[in-house]
């Protein structure tokens, strides 16, 4: 559980630090006069904060899985599993998908919507390719007789890749909605700002899932 413990310590440390910083030099009992009132909300779009919180939840989920993985790994019946070489290809594809979204984000910042469209299509295609590739890796393992019950390392492999793919599917829903908005046309400035925000959120989420995947993949290589 030490992985989770460290993760939680860092996370709760950040939460506590942030809260303390905003509460320490305040005299809550003092009333404010008219004209002095401030808006002390976090000045970020709600969806951006929500994505941050959601990524913390997902990170917590995977940190717990990694803890479970390392505890289970230390037990006597753990056997290394064969890693399909296909996983390296898949990793490359996911990296490219992340790069494509970064490209889309940069282009969106410059307001060049044609490039955003192209980059978004490429990112979507690459992500679908990644998920299909993962499925092929599953097929290869099953064909060689390494399904979930074969050994605990396999069980974790299927579980973790499956969950990671599910999170990517969720991302694809957001990607689809953003793309639909993008192709519907970008007339008004408000609409452009919205698209820019959505592209940014997609890019951040993809980077996050890429990092998670890299951690999981290195764990699996480490059996």
């Amino acid at each position: 559980m030490s992985v989770t413990l460290v993760f939680m310590a860092v996370l709760m440390g950040m939460v506590a630090f942030w809260l303390l910083r905003h509460t320490i030099n305040v005299r809550p009992w003092a009333a404010e006069s008219r004209g002095n009132l401030i808006n002390s909300n976090i000045q970020l779009p709600a969806t951006k904060i929500a994505l941050g919180v959601f990524m913390a939840v997902v990170a917590s989920l995977f940190a717990l899985f990694i803890s479970a993985y390392s505890i289970r790994m230390s037990l006597a019946d753990w056997r290394p599993m064969p890693e399909p070489d296909l996983l390296w290809v898949n990793t490359g594809i996911l990296v490219l998908a992340s790069v494509a979204l970064q490209w889309a984000w940069n282009a969106a910042n410059k307001g060049r919507m044609e490039i955003v469209k192209r980059a978004m299509s490429i990112a979507g295609a690459l992500t679908v390719a990644f998920v299909l590739g993962q499925y092929l890796a599953w097929e290869q393992l099953i064909a060689t007789g390494y399904f979930m019950t074969a050994n605990p390392a396999n069980a974790f492999f299927f579980l973790l890749t499956g969950l990671h793919a599910l999170h990517l599917f969720g991302g694809l829903v957001a990607w689809y909605r953003t793309s639909a908005r993008l192709w519907r046309g970008v007339g008004e400035t408000a609409e452009i700002a919205k698209i820019r925000l959505n592209v940014e959120l997609c890019a951040v989420y993809w980077h996050f899932l890429l990092v998670i995947w890299l951690i999981l993949f290195s764990l699996m290589l480490n059996t």
Partner: protein, 602 residues
């Protein structure tokens, strides 16, 4: 009152807080069934939680009947008994308390107390409730499948939970695990809303340190729940796979029913770590909202500012952070490394410090306050008693050497019921008596409320106090019947019967409460907008009950914290949060025409 707030806008720059685009439903179904209004969702959550909670209450009565009068009731078999224990625990902790505090009170109070029109993602909020309802229905459905619900105990420890011979090991356990996973998915949707709304949608002037403690408690509990529920999710998924696909995450090699199972090498202790990594924060997920709400009840009904507001906030934050490093004190008897026990005993004693600070501050808030013994206040004071009681036995059990002999006895049952069952539920009652007038526009019946309080409060003591003695005597918990065992003396059996009688009386007395809730909808005395003369924003709404959008035309502006009670010099003994200092009538310039209406009952 509201008028004063609106006039105030002419003195300040236009609202910087972005106005939300509200979804305005037109049909009855859109307004009350598939509603995106946090207040309606809150009521849906609360009604569902209370309904399933009543089921769990009945289950506990059946258990008590068996324990108090063994060999009397034929319909309670040993398997049934275990199933009832399991379902009672699971429903009460997760489907009632967690859902009611966060889904119910969280949804109702966060937008109103922060001065927001609604949650920031109303659609997600609506889906959250329906997923929760699906989880509840799945749980209820498990009573009707072959083999019945799971009887593995609310902790669902493997290998027992999914081994043949345990009640509900076929379908019941799977439905339980899927229902939990659904609950967590639903909660995460709601939880994102609560956190983001508190961080991003507070009205102008509502700084973090002007938030009522209710919101602080709910906010921190939501943060805990968002981070801790994944642990339960992880263990639920892995156990489902062990059960359905035959993996060995948790299942060791073992012989079951005379046959070697296909499982090999899994770790039941791993499950315990994951479960309690969720399980201990869960205690605080239930406790922190209760802490927050009770602080507001005490301040409002004692007409005094809360003692040590900043310390209360920091204590909530500290408890939240520490609650992640105490989980293994539930596992002293699991055979883990003794150094672990030392570490977790230390952290457990450390977390008692911020908790004790809160208790002292509640008591000091009452000190020389102008205490109004209203029904919510009675429940709040009752909470202080039961919480201190349960908290102190927690200090005993936090020490490894004391815990080892007591761990599997009724002492633990007494401890956790005092500290995380009775205490939060007293706050739930207090909060319902407190906010019912805002939700419905009518007061609850005072006499019924007082009767309900005294029977419940004294009743819980007569139920749980004797259990401490039973625990000392060594009476093991989770047993269906004791038979002719040496550790079960005649007097202990007599005590057990006494507890059962008390439990039945308390359970039946809850009819008073339910009846009060229902009949006051029609017959309750109209409450007016602010019957308790409270300062927080939800009492300053233009309409009671608040309409869609909460605050009418303009959002309120917040000039002060929520605890300006009995301010020296002010005419009224409370100053609402949205009254600027310039508008507070003082004793010297007491001019009735200049005084803004202070939101008294109409």
């Amino acid at each position: 009152m509201v008028q004063a707030a609106h006039d105030a806008t002419s003195f300040v720059a236009p609202l910087e807080v972005e106005e939300e685009e509200l979804y305005h439903a037109k049909t009855f179904i859109g307004k009350y069934i598939w509603s995106q209004d946090a207040k309606v969702i809150a009521i849906q959550y609360a009604v569902t939680a209370i309904a399933i909670g009543l089921v769990a209450l009945v289950l506990s009565v059946i258990m008590r009947l068996q324990l108090g009068f063994p060999d009397t009731f034929d319909f309670i078999t040993p398997s049934n008994y275990l199933q009832f224990v399991t379902m009672h625990g699971m429903i009460m902790v997760i489907y009632l308390l967690t859902a009611l505090f966060l889904g119910g009170f969280g949804n109702y109070l966060i937008p109103l107390m922060c001065g927001a029109r609604d949650m920031v993602f109303p659609y997600v909020n609506m889906v959250s409730y329906w997923v929760y309802l699906a989880a509840v229905l799945l749980l209820v459905a498990s009573f009707f499948v072959p083999g019945g619900p799971t009887g593995a105990g609310w902790t669902l420890y493997p290998p027992q939970a999914i081994s043949p011979g345990t009640p509900g090991a076929d379908a019941g356990i799977i439905m339980m695990l899927v229902s939990l996973a659904l609950f967590i998915v639903g909660f995460t949707m709601g939880g994102l809303n609560y956190v983001v709304t508190v961080l991003q949608a507070r009205t102008r002037g509502m700084t973090l340190m002007r938030l009522p403690l209710t919101i602080w408690g709910i906010f921190m509990a939501t943060v805990l729940a968002l981070l801790a529920f994944p642990a339960l999710f992880v263990s639920a998924i892995m156990m489902t796979l062990d059960r359905l696909l035959g993996t060995s995450f948790f299942m060791p090699a073992m012989v079951s029913m005379g046959e070697q199972t296909a499982y090999d090498g899994g770790s039941p202790i791993l499950f315990q770590h994951l479960f309690w990594f969720f399980g201990h924060p869960e205690v605080y997920i239930v406790a922190l909202p209760a802490f927050g709400i009770v602080s507001d009840l005490l301040a409002t009904h004692a007409r005094k500012c809360i003692f040590g507001y900043r310390m209360m906030v920091w204590a909530i934050v500290a408890i939240g952070a520490l609650s992640f490093v105490v989980w293994a004190h539930h596992m002293y008897v699991s055979g883990m490394n003794p150094y672990f026990g030392f570490f977790f005993a230390t952290t457990t004693l450390i977390i008692a410090v911020p908790t004790a600070i809160k208790v002292y501050n509640w008591v000091l808030t009452l000190w020389r306050g102008n205490i109004r013994l209203t029904v919510p206040m009675l429940f709040a004071i009752g909470f202080i008693f039961t919480f201190i009681n349960g908290g102190l036995t927690g200090l005993f059990l936090g020490n490894v050497t004391v815990d080892l002999p007591l761990s599997d006895t009724y002492f633990v049952v007494a401890h956790f019921h005092m500290v995380m069952a009775v205490s939060p539920i007293l706050v739930v009652f207090g909060a319902i008596y407190h906010w019912y007038p805002k939700i419905t526009g009518r007061m609850l019946n005072d006499t019924l409320g007082k009767a309900h309080f005294w029977i419940t409060f004294i009743g819980t003591y007569t139920i749980y106090y004797p259990m401490h003695y039973l625990g000392f005597e060594g009476l093991p918990r989770r047993y269906y019947a004791y038979g002719d065992t040496a550790f079960m003396s005649d007097s202990a059996q007599a005590l057990n019967s006494f507890i059962t009688v008390a439990a039945c009386i308390v359970a039946v007395a809850q009819i008073l409460f339910i009846w009060n809730l229902i009949s006051s909808l029609r017959n309750g005395k109209p409450s007016g907008p602010n019957p308790w003369e409270a300062t927080t924003l939800e009492w300053q709404t233009p309409d009671t009950p608040p309409k869609h959008g909460n605050f009418g035309e303009n959002l309120p502006l917040v000039y002060r914290w929520a605890y300006d009670y009995s301010v020296p010099g002010a005419v009224e003994d409370f100053i609402p949060q949205n009254v600027p200092p310039e508008d507070v009538p003082t004793a010297r310039t007491d001019d009735p025409t200049a005084a803004p209406a202070e939101g008294q009952p109409a």
